[in-house]
């Protein structure tokens, strides 16, 4: 479990809390970079788009949905890493989860927020977005619960609420620890954050139960969220969207890219917060195995999709298929297959699974692959619908590219802020994994 010898309880507190209290110039420069990238690449283009209209993006008659939506799916997908993973592992109480789940849940939260941003960017009249929420207003407007987009609204708000509660409650004891380790304003703040947590048996007991229930709620939620996202597409008759396989397809993809995302984040935590002691081979190895499994499932579903399309045999489906495999965006498709279906097979070799650097590369490749997968789904189906006379193609504009880049900066910014406010590794759960001290020891 621990590559560098077992730490004492005190070490745990020291190591982890110190990363919050001691902030070096490296952190500030990093934060500065991410913030400015987010501002320049995401918000400035977005405001420009608000002024001129969504036409600033490359979407057109043939594809009214574009990269904004594919990015939205991607980020929602990424969000499945944390909550789902941590919840599942919590219930199956697999010990190796304990070191990584906190940051995994943070990922969930922040990628969800980023995804929400993309909905805003996508909308034609974002200044009326509140109409899509069931908020009573003077105009008597009320959303249409028959619309798949309303499913989305409900699902995502629920998911956002649930996962933030999940992560917060999990951190309460650690907030108490930070409180005790700090002074002045910070102390007062964390007194509030921790609800005056003392760590009595009763508190632990209640938290344990509540936490388990959160987990129980969150798992089906996470599954439903991405199924619903997939239904935005599958509920239409558009060839290439209209597949029953879509829900599992999306969910698998989501967990897949999410898990890959965790590997990436783990790597960074290890590097920049020196958590080598807590995040070790065992985590990497288990994540690697999980990734292989997921990649195989994902590949299988992909093949299924192609098959059922081909088996459908209508002119519509076949056209969509051939366009995907050989059309304008075919190179992207094959790139996706390479990164998400073939590259992960390398992890069958322990040598690779055990090397942090190699795993980092693979995990990033997987997410690049997943990003393109989302894009392909959106961009190859719409321009090949039912009337050949309306066939066309769609190329993202530089604004879309820039906003895509910016979204990663937003995510990074949120994460950087997170590691300074919440212990990136759960103190008490790590302690649980330590052998308790004995007098005779």
């Amino acid at each position: 479990m621990f590559d560098h010898g077992q730490p004492s309880y005190a070490d745990v507190n020291k190591d982890i809390i110190s990363t919050m209290l001691e902030t070096g110039p490296k952190y500030w420069t990093l934060l500065g970079i991410t913030v400015s990238v987010a501002g320049i690449c995401f918000f400035m283009p977005w405001f420009y788009q608000l002024i001129v209209g969504v036409g600033a993006a490359g979407m057109n008659r043939n594809a009214v949905w574009g990269s904004y939506l594919s990015n939205f799916i991607f980020w929602i997908g990424l969000s499945h890493s944390g909550t789902l993973l941590s919840a599942v592992l919590h219930i199956t109480n697999s010990p190796w989860r304990k070191a990584i789940y906190r940051s995994a849940e943070a990922m969930t939260l922040f990628s969800l927020m980023t995804a929400a941003m993309f909905v805003m960017v996508h909308l034609g009249r974002v200044w009326f977005v509140h109409w899509s929420f069931p908020i009573p207003n003077q105009m008597g407007l009320w959303p249409n619960f028959r619309s798949p987009l309303m499913f989305d609204v409900m699902a995502i708000t629920t998911y956002l609420t649930a996962s933030s509660i999940f992560i917060y409650m999990g951190s309460v004891p650690d907030f108490a620890a930070v409180r005790d380790a700090s002074t002045g304003l910070r102390r007062r703040l964390y007194t509030i954050f921790s609800f005056g947590w003392r760590g009595t048996a009763r508190e632990w007991h209640t938290l344990g139960w509540a936490y388990t229930f959160f987990a129980v709620f969150v798992i089906p939620l996470a599954v439903s969220v991405h199924s619903i996202v997939s239904w935005d597409f599958a509920l239409s008759a558009v060839p290439g969207f209209h597949h029953t396989i879509f829900a599992p397809y999306f969910v698998t993809g989501a967990i897949y890219s999410g898990t890959a995302g965790i590997v990436t984040v783990m790597y960074c935590l290890r590097k920049f917060l020196n958590f080598e002691r807590y995040i070790g081979q065992v985590h990497l190895d288990s994540l690697g195995k999980l990734l292989i499994t997921l990649s195989l499932i994902w590949t299988y579903i992909n093949i299924l999709e192609l098959f059922s399309t081909w088996y459908g045999g209508t002119s519509f489906e076949l056209e969509a298929l051939s366009f995907k495999l050989t059309g304008f965006y075919a190179p992207l498709y094959w790139e996706m297959l390479l990164f998400c279906a073939f590259v992960p097979l390398l992890m069958l070799f322990k040598k690779i699974r055990w090397s942090w650097n190699k795993m980092l590369v693979i995990s990033i490749l997987i997410n690049i692959g997943m990003l393109t997968e989302r894009f392909i789904i959106v961009a190859t189906s719409q321009p090949r619908k039912f009337l050949p006379g309306a066939f066309g193609y769609y190329v993202p504009s530089w604004i879309e590219f820039s906003i895509t880049v910016g979204s990663f900066a937003i995510f990074a910014t949120l994460f950087l802020i997170f590691i300074k406010w919440v212990p990136a590794i759960s103190l008490y759960e790590v302690k649980e994994t330590l052998r308790p001290l004995r007098r005779d020891a």
Binding site: G55, R61, F386, A390
Partner: protein
């Protein structure tokens, strides 16, 4: 109580809960249609469609509520051209309607598939779901070179950026006709009393418009033609537009 129950029962059945006075319907006779596109300009004039400019066309962002699609058959010298006017089919089971999260598009009393511009938030889902690709999105707020704006039809709104728009069967004309009918105490508009701009202009009288709830209406008779068919019928959108195939001699 019983009435409530029975209302609930009624409401949980698919289809429309009320027999409409009208069901506006159009027939398009492809044997008459010559693809001259008079209808396209008529629509542009009547419904304040923007002049989008060359770049927008290059970007495939033109707005034409009715367009002519053309399909070749065969190769030179035995080659034939088939024209088909494509406009909103005013489907009874419209895929676009269920898609809208804010009820910006819904089915009105006349069996029309209406788009409420000021309710639209621009998710564009309806356009994705529409198999006929007849919904057009305002990617920008378009302007008219002075004094071209003096031509704008005061009965029709100018749409702003970020909203979806589409053929309305010239609902403003229908409304005027209804008002007139009301004024001289007729329950219904007479057949032929109101036609959309495209139908009005069609030089070959290929387009026929009317209320198919009225069996005497010309359109009801046209619909019975053995040449009649609906585009993409297999998707079961039950369009309100019936096409009559071109006769191949």
């Amino acid at each position: 109580m019983s009435t409530i129950v029975e209302k609930l029962r009624q409401y949980s059945k698919p289809g429309y809960y009320d027999k409409f006075d009208y069901h506006w319907t159009m027939t398009i006779d492809l044997d008459r249609c010559t693809g001259c596109e008079a209808c396209v300009v008529a629509c542009q004039a009547e419904n304040n469609l923007p002049i989008v400019g060359e770049e927008r066309f290059a970007e495939n962002r033109e707005i034409k509520w009715i367009r002519i699609e053309r399909y070749w058959e065969g190769e030179y010298p035995d080659i034939k051209m088939g024209f088909i006017p494509m406009l909103c089919q005013q489907c009874d089971d419209a895929p676009c309607e269920t898609a809208c999260p804010v009820y910006a598009t819904y089915h009105n009393q006349d069996g029309l598939n209406t788009q409420i511009y000021n309710r639209c938030i621009g998710t564009r889902t309806c356009a994705v779901y529409c198999p006929y690709e007849v919904r057009y999105f305002n990617w920008f707020t378009y302007t008219w070179d002075e004094p071209l704006e003096q031509q704008l039809n005061p009965d029709v709104t100018v749409r702003e950026k970020g909203v979806m728009e589409k053929c309305t069967f010239c609902i403003q004309r229908i409304r005027i006709a209804k008002d007139n009918a009301k004024d001289d105490n007729r329950r219904r508009v007479r057949d032929g009393e109101v036609v959309p701009a495209c139908v009005q202009s069609c030089p070959t009288e290929a387009l026929v418009f009317g209320n198919s709830n009225d069996p005497e209406a010309k359109v009801s008779k046209m619909m019975k033609s053995p040449r009649g068919y609906k585009v993409l019928e297999e998707l079961h959108t039950t369009p309100s537009i019936v096409y009559l195939t071109k006769v191949q001699s």
